[in-house]
């Protein structure tokens, strides 16, 4: 199935036996998971189950201790976050990963700042303008793209992090509890954005503690428990009770 990289059935990303050890701590044992273009896969499990660790492996933050990552059927090595970014993979981190004292536009373009002219001068005006446009498109309301992140509310910060990921994530967007800090309306808006990304053919892997949200968004659900992959279910063919039982290990 994976030998023809252009075959429609080839997943955008395939994890094959991916695991991670931190010294003596086994954070993740062995995960096998496919995510296709235009698909939303949810990652659920209790605190410390290894969800963030899995996302960070795909994002190039942690190298896997064992296992393989395949993009379009090709094995890839994600040694640094830059490698993942070059493959069109973006992340909304649980701990946000924003630079508080820098303006919003700089956070959106961090590591990929726009420059102009032969002297490659930073083009702050254009970064600010493009940021304003992007946030407007996503209906994320902030006073100005030039205010520093610390002047924003938790929800607005989350909005900036999501805007950054959706702007740069060509193929795969990883989201670690993207609505944890949000109110009802903001959550609905973010879910809307996620569904629009799916329509545009992007693959999305989302960590969430809200089963309601998982059932609203996901095509499939992958359950982790204490670093162990318990199973993957089609959303249409499972229910909350089964997922809760898989998460807790109780029947």
């Amino acid at each position: 199935m994976a030998e023809l990289s252009t075959a429609p059935g080839t997943p955008l990303v395939r994890l094959a036996g991916v695991g991670k050890r931190f010294g003596a701590v086994v954070a993740l044992r062995s995960v096998d998971l496919d995510v296709h273009a235009g698909e939303i896969v949810a990652l659920v499990g209790d605190n410390g189950a290894g969800k963030s660790t899995l996302l960070k492996i795909i994002a190039g933050v942690h190298p896997p201790s064992h296992g393989e990552i395949l993009l379009d059927g090709e094995p890839v090595r994600m040694a640094t976050p830059s490698d993942a970014r070059a493959h069109g993979i973006e992340v909304v981190y649980q701990d946000l990963a924003l630079a508080d004292n820098q303006p919003v536009y700089m956070n959106l373009f961090l590591g990929r700042e726009l420059v102009s002219g032969p002297l490659r001068r930073l083009d702050r005006a254009r970064m600010a303008a493009e940021t304003a446009e992007l946030l407007k498109e996503l209906d994320i309301r902030i006073p100005s793209p030039r205010v520093p992140i610390r002047a924003l509310s938790g929800g607005q910060r989350q909005g900036v992090a999501i805007a950054r990921a959706t702007h740069w994530g060509e193929r795969l967007i990883l989201m670690d509890e993207p609505t944890a800090a949000l109110g009802v309306q903001e959550t609905a808006r973010v879910e809307d954005t996620i569904l629009r990304m799916k329509e545009r053919g992007k693959a999305i892997l989302i960590v969430s503690h809200s089963l309601d949200q998982v059932f609203r968004l996901a095509d499939r659900i992958c359950v982790l428990r204490r670093g162990e992959q318990v199973g993957v279910r089609e959303t249409a063919q499972t229910d909350g009770d089964e997922i809760v039982a898989m998460i807790t290990g109780l029947r």
Binding site: A59, V61, T80, P81, S82, R85, V91, Y93, D95, L96, A97, L98, A99, D100, N101, Q102, M106, N107, L110, G111, R112, E113, L114, V115, S116, G117, P118, R120, R121, L122, D123, R124, A125, R126, A128, A129, E130, A132, E133, S144, P145, R146, R150
Partner: protein, 335 residues
């Protein structure tokens, strides 16, 4: 601005209204301007109280500008270091070693090797600092505390505490007593280094990366910024700037001794912090550091003219420093 051929993407808009002067003025954080107000107030104070002692004569003002040149150059380097969330305590010691090495090479070899040696000493110490910080993941505070002592020891050792005289008119002219037209060469050095520092800090991607690393190293790393390269770079910049400061001292005094730069560390950090650079990284200003350095220079000069002896000067400087820091560093309530 409508054509930007060097970047892949076409601009979607003309320079937008938020970039206008009015919008810029409104966006200003008043605390960033305390340093300029303080500068004017201190200038006015000395101008009035020391009127009869000639504080406001152009000779005296030029003298202040010339005397602050080495500190300003170091302060520019320190803006980068502090902005990246690091610190460099070794700058004062580098001044002494770079000065002595320059003077010896100038005496025994020649002008160009002497300049290269002085700058090279600074860059090399900065590189050692940076390698310990990045490869061994040690705090720069401890690494540069150690090299501060180590380099000071080397400086004393090179000549066994002897001073080295410099008799080279070209060197003295370029790095000290000369003029470019009506402007003293030390002032030219100050302007050049501040301008260069400002452009790199505000208008280059490197400057943005320095600020991001100092603000949130984790965030910088996940966006693909090479955090260790930035940390190494700022310490090399600071070391090299201290080396240049050593050259400027030698040029002005026409001699080198292990005591050069001995009292500069505190003044440099004070100048930078008063100038609006956060001690903990993520924000700063090169131009602010220049003004901070001029304030420190004015204070020293004014206090001498007031007839304070060096002990009294230290006390007065400490008091004024506390006042200045309280005004500029106070974090806003609730932040």
């Amino acid at each position: 601005m409508s054509t930007a051929p060097s970047t892949g993407q076409a601009p979607r808009r003309e320079a937008d209204p938020p970039g206008s002067v009015l919008a810029r003025v409104r966006r200003v954080d008043p605390r960033q301007y305390v340093v300029y107000v303080a500068f004017l107030l201190i200038l006015a104070f000395f101008a009035v109280t020391l009127h009869d002692d000639g504080f406001l004569t152009s000779d005296n003002l030029l003298n202040i500008a010339r005397q602050t040149a080495p500190v300003t150059v170091m302060a520019v380097g320190m803006v980068f270091v502090l902005s990246a969330g690091e610190i460099d305590l070794s700058v004062g010691s580098i001044v002494a070693l770079a000065a002595l090495v320059t003077a010896i090479v100038l005496r025994d070899v020649g002008l160009v090797p002497a300049v290269a040696a002085g700058l090279g000493v600074g860059a090399a110490v900065g590189l050692v600092n940076g390698l310990f910080v990045t490869l061994l993941r040690l705090p720069s505070f401890l690494v540069t505390l150690a090299t501060m002592g180590l380099v000071a020891g080397l400086a004393r050792w090179t000549t066994d505490l002897e001073a080295v005289a410099v008799v080279n008119d070209t060197f003295a002219s370029v790095f000290g007593s000369g003029d470019v037209g009506p402007i003293p060469s030390l002032v030219v050095w100050t302007i050049a280094i501040v301008a260069l520092g400002h452009v790199v800090y505000r208008h280059r991607r490197f400057g943005a990366h320095v600020l991001a690393v100092g603000d949130n190293a984790q965030a910088a790393r996940v966006t693909g910024i090479d955090v260790n390269r930035v940390r190494l770079a700022v310490l090399v910049i600071s070391g090299t700037a201290a080396g240049l400061a050593g050259l400027l001292y030698v040029g002005r005094i026409q001699a080198a001794s292990y005591t050069l730069g001995a009292n500069d560390l505190l003044i440099v950090i004070a100048a930078v912090v008063i100038g609006g650079t956060r001690l903990f990284g993520g924000a700063g200003s090169v131009v602010g550091a220049l003004v901070g350095s001029l304030i420190m220079g004015m204070l020293t000069n004014g206090l001498i003219l007031m007839g304070l002896d060096s002990n009294q000067q230290m006390v007065a400087q400490g008091v004024l420093l506390l006042i200045a820091i309280s005004l500029t560093l106070r974090e806003p309530k609730g932040a």
